[in-house]
Symmetry: C2
Subunit: 472 residues, 2 copies
């Protein structure tokens, strides 16, 4: 495996971690940073460093880095900016490979902070030590249970999505990613002020990481070589679909970025936008799109084309979805005569089954599962159809006792159609309810459920654009 040779492996797969400034007060963020590693069962040696703490989360605390008997591969420092320089000297002595600087108060605060940051950078460079941050929450690697977070992390879900952030914004969302998106994560890196490690390093690492299949990148600025970055994006995205959310686009946003991560935005947003398009990379406009698109790429195989069938529970939503599909560039498929004949069986005699199909009408005459069975069976065999865009029923309306809902039976035709090569996206009013067994089942089988037709269709649209750019 190539990845093991990349210098970032000391950050994602260190044999030992020392957390300098870990607190023993459970109400402080600096407690959580250490405690999460203990609680989640990080698979390496752990050393809290805090003079006078005695013991933190059941583990002996050290007075200084020097007192640790064994070697230390990674240092996570949560001490304040002013104390950081001293810590750096200890790290040099100890021969650590990588340092994460969590605290802010550096280049983002102006001249004094820039000076301090430059001095630290100089010392580290001189001694061959690499650093993430300052002003960062990093790294996260679910495979070895390495989670640096300010908040108590209760559970993790290992998967194939990796993220690069230039902000700790993901930190608020760790559990939300699992609950509302059912996303499984491989690695997360927050670049912060990018004193040393920047977006080029991070993407290079993820492009080689065998556990990463899909990549999401949030950036406020490009700090590294922008030509190299765009070239790397292009090469990576062909193999691992990559979604980019770039903020600091407007003048006010760029100013805000400067005081957030001390980043000066180079070049106009228009230029960056064109570069992304030329690199074949999908750009998200906001956080909803960012996570929606990442989920679509992670869950779906590339569709065979853009001819889509819309099946809705409400006729009105079917009309709305049809507008959205046409606006996103889909072809509204014309099902074959054979398909129409098959699905006629579930519709009342007066309803002509055209695309969009109002599946909801059939509930009046059939058991709720039956129309979906017939719908998926018919569509899966139609050579003129590539994608199915389907509204899910609210099962709590169909079954007074939700636990009586035959989730396996209901979902089987979805999975069979998927196995036959149909690309399926769905939407449901209950998509955000992690307790909905239909949503949980479908998403655990990589059929995405979005909270509205609009979000489902835009996400599928992103996948189809990627397909056209990269495969034709």
């Amino acid at each position: 495996m190539q990845t093991s040779k990349h210098f970032l492996d000391s950050f994602f797969n260190p044999s030992s971690i020392a957390v300098i400034g870990a607190s023993k007060n459970p109400s402080l963020f600096t407690f959580n940073v250490f405690n999460n590693l203990v609680k989640l069962g990080y698979q390496g040696r752990l050393y809290p460093v805090n003079p006078g703490a005695g013991e933190i989360a059941g583990i002996r605390a050290y007075t200084s880095l020097r007192d640790i008997e064994d070697d230390v591969e990674l240092v996570v420092s949560v001490v304040s900016a002013g104390k950081t320089l001293d810590i750096m000297k200890e790290c040099v002595e100890k021969g650590v490979k990588g340092i994460v600087l969590v605290s802010g108060g550096f280049s983002e605060i102006g001249e004094r902070g820039i000076k301090m940051q430059d001095e630290i950078a100089r010392i580290l460079k001189q001694n061959g030590i690499r650093a993430i941050g300052p002003n960062t929450l990093s790294p996260v690697n679910f495979h070895n249970k390495l989670v640096v977070s300010f908040f108590p992390v209760e559970k993790i879900r290992v998967g194939t999505v990796s993220f690069i952030f230039q902000s700790g914004m993901y930190d608020l969302r760790l559990s939300w990613l699992f609950e509302n998106f059912h996303l499984g994560v491989s690695k997360i890196i927050d670049l912060g002020n990018k004193m040393d490690v920047n977006e080029v390093d991070a993407l290079e690492y993820l492009s080689q990481d065998k556990d990463t299949k899909t990549i999401g990148i949030h950036l406020e600025t490009i700090r590294g070589d922008s030509k190299k970055f765009v070239q790397l994006l292009k090469n990576t995205s062909r193999r691992k679909p990559t979604v980019v959310l770039k903020t600091g686009r407007t003048e006010a946003g760029a100013n805000a970025a400067a005081s957030h991560t001390g980043s000066i935005v180079k070049g106009s947003d228009v230029v960056f936008d064109i570069a992304l398009k030329q690199a074949g990379v999908i750009r998200a406009q906001d956080l909803d799109e960012f996570f929606d698109f990442v989920k679509a790429f992670d869950f779906l195989d590339l569709p065979s084309g853009n001819r889509c069938i819309i099946g809705s529970v409400s006729g009105g939503e079917g009309v709305l979805a049809t507008d959205l599909c046409q606006q996103e560039g889909f072809l509204i498929a014309k099902p074959s005569v054979a398909t129409v004949n098959k699905i006629k069986a579930i519709f009342p005699p007066w309803e002509i089954p055209v695309n969009p199909l109002d599946i909801g009408v059939c509930f009046q005459f059939h058991d709720p599962a039956e129309p979906f069975v017939i719908f998926f069976e018919a569509m899966a065999d139609d050579p003129d159809v590539d994608c199915l865009v389907v509204q899910l029923p609210q099962i709590r309306y169909l079954f007074a006792d939700v636990s009586m809902f035959p989730v396996d039976e209901f979902c089987k035709p979805f999975l069979q159609a998927k196995d036959k090569g149909m690309t399926i996206v769905t939407w449901a009013v209950s998509a955000n309810r992690p307790d909905d067994p239909l949503v949980a089942y479908l998403e655990s089988h990589n059929i995405p459920v979005y909270p509205s037709a609009s979000r489902a269709i835009k996400a599928l649209g992103a996948v189809c654009r990627y397909r056209v750019i990269n495969l034709t």
Copy 2:
């Protein structure tokens, strides 16, 4: 009250309702249509009509309309299309004022259905009976607990928003409106095929309805006099902000509308769009925007201007929000020197409090409520600030035991700033969790919480556009 004289009052405030075709089988939609009225406690006389049913939901069923001793003001018919003509004749005999035709199978199915629908329309017109539908779920009036719905409705939330739909799509969302949007509803009308009652009648009624403050209109087509409708929209919207979601915009969508509600879309979408703009009416692009905008208009007073301050829990989200605010046409406010001095107290010495404000930084040094208290107190007194766009913390991260969260104390400064004339919108990762006490409290005090910065800012943007159009 003028409203009592409008003919639609027989639909929203009838003294008696007969449901023809009500079933006694609880698993059928035609049971729910009747049972909801009984269960919710509709404030009028109720008659189920179904030969041989004996009793439905504990109420004596009648063999036919003729057998009902008393007069019947409103008939809701759930019998199939083929049987409808016979029912019409009974309605004429009985002297009912209004009829709701729930079943489909009329103009939306083509020539045969159009003929049947025309024949019914002729009989009704001859006898001065008005009708909603066919192909409708209507009406809903929460004030007298009149709810026509296919699904069991457990609870209602009376409020000041009224909706016009051309689809039963709202039916799936009744409880979702309360849970995910905390919206209180006054009246809902679904126009269906618009054989008789159309959007002009419905809007006329709501424009006069004293219980309606905000209006949401979903349309697939304009059936009535389009000039009159636009004029009415203009006059109504000045007093009662009105949000329009028009589907069937694209060619494929228009075709879909034709087979959904038998509607032929007249004129291009571009023409309609211009007419709406000229009428000063806000148009939503999809259902998320539709409900987001309606909530903003219902909850918020019009802002005094468009100078906004952004307060975020994550610095990265602050940068994103700043971009979005500038893109939506907001001015990124410059807080006064006095304001800056006040908020300096909560920030660490190295952080310069500019707009956007990274409130999250302060959590490391203060009790979580304190930064919000200082933030709102300072902003509320600043004459150079009109709107506050604020990210909420996830309280389950700040309080291990959520029940310990001091919701009153935390929210007090929000309410005080609101009372001083600040327009406040917020966003939170947990916005869709109806069990979050912070979200529930703020929304019950008309401070909207959206699930993302993007949705919060777009909704506030719609309110600001409305203000500029209508008040300058």
